[in-house]
Assembly symmetry: C2
Homo-oligomer: 215 residues x 2
């Protein structure tokens, strides 16, 4: 293949060479700036330097592009979570708090991905890959929950799935309500990351788990 090298280089002929990727990048930029509803198929095309009809060669419609952004977002998210969890080393509690910080860091640093994944109204079954990618990301939380639970005595163990859902709910709640600093939202007495960490410590204590050893 003789790539047209339009990864950001200008000169191109009739064909773009990398339009799909260029559209994704444009969509991320627009969603990050103006929210999911501020993203426009036509403007993404303009940014990529093609006509408004060109994107339809790669996506059935605007929603399909959004769903693709969400898929890629879940994959990146999963990768971040896996890295943060790091197999539960050096111990489950430390790793778990890294996981919480990674969750919020993703929501904060990749607002466009996070929006597409959770706030754009993309139905999870829009795309077969989408649900799979979302499930893989959730599985990281679930595995972490299972590892933590294993430290509890038999008979005091909550269902791992329920615990994972609690973790996710609180993380998402903090991220959605307080995660993006200055966006016309509520001022906080502490950072969103610290708020989540404190909440998770209380929750884990409620389960009977020991507090973390490191901040």
């Amino acid at each position: 293949m003789s790539w047209k090298r339009d990864d950001s280089g200008q000169p191109r002929g009739y064909h773009h060479g990398n339009l799909k990727e260029a559209l994704i990048r444009a969509a991320l930029g627009l969603i990050g700036e103006k929210g999911p509803s501020g993203f426009t198929f036509a403007e993404a095309a303009r940014m990529a330097g093609v006509s408004p009809a060109a994107p339809y060669r790669h996506y059935r419609d605007r929603d399909e592009l959004l769903a693709d952004v969400a898929v890629r977002g879940f994959s990146a998210f999963e990768a971040d979570l896996v890295k943060a969890w790091d197999g539960g080393k050096p111990d489950a509690e430390t790793a778990f708090h890294r996981l919480g910080r990674a969750y919020l860091a993703f929501a904060h640093d990749q607002p466009a991905f996070y929006s597409a994944m959770f706030e754009a109204g993309v139905p999870l079954d829009a795309n077969a890959e989408l649900r799979a990618a979302a499930d893989r990301a959730f599985l990281v939380l679930r595995n972490a929950a299972e590892t933590l639970i294993a430290a509890l005595p038999q008979g005091e163990r909550p269902p791992a799935l329920m615990m994972a859902l609690h973790i996710w709910a609180m993380s998402h709640g903090v991220a959605a309500l307080f995660g993006r600093g200055d966006a016309g939202r509520r001022p906080l007495p502490m950072s969103a990351s610290d708020l989540l960490e404190a909440g998770m410590l209380i929750y884990l204590k409620g389960l009977g788990l020991p507090p973390d050893k490191a901040g």
Copy 2:
């Protein structure tokens, strides 16, 4: 005033008589059906039986109507929460669990309001009334948190604001991720309401508060 009585009655002359309310109702219906981005100024006008330009006599633009919906939503929300809390009777724990159920019931039964309030991207300072209404609703949670905290011994009391933020975050997380049953979201092993209740019980236990006496 000789009301035109167009609260839903058809016959009207040149003037509608109640267009603002009719637009709000139309907006709620559309948002409930198709999400915040599916709501259209033009379609709301059509539903109210007026021309597409008429709404501009009552709202500067589409966003201002959305903000008004959010204001009304926060007021209704506050009223529901106040009623559920009911002054903390007969005891704080019982009242608190009523509060949690009321939160989810609102998100579930008034999805249009909830969307406009939390998911439509309406900035809180779009409207002076908006922030005030949101603050009043949050204050109910904060007061509940304060009452619960008062049962703890001195020196073990967390900041009430932080606790209220945790409660809100988990409630919103559950509502946003799992609150609307079949909307292409994730299947749950339990109802969203039970999930939240279980999470809150664990959280309260982590704070050292006694479990609720009634289910």
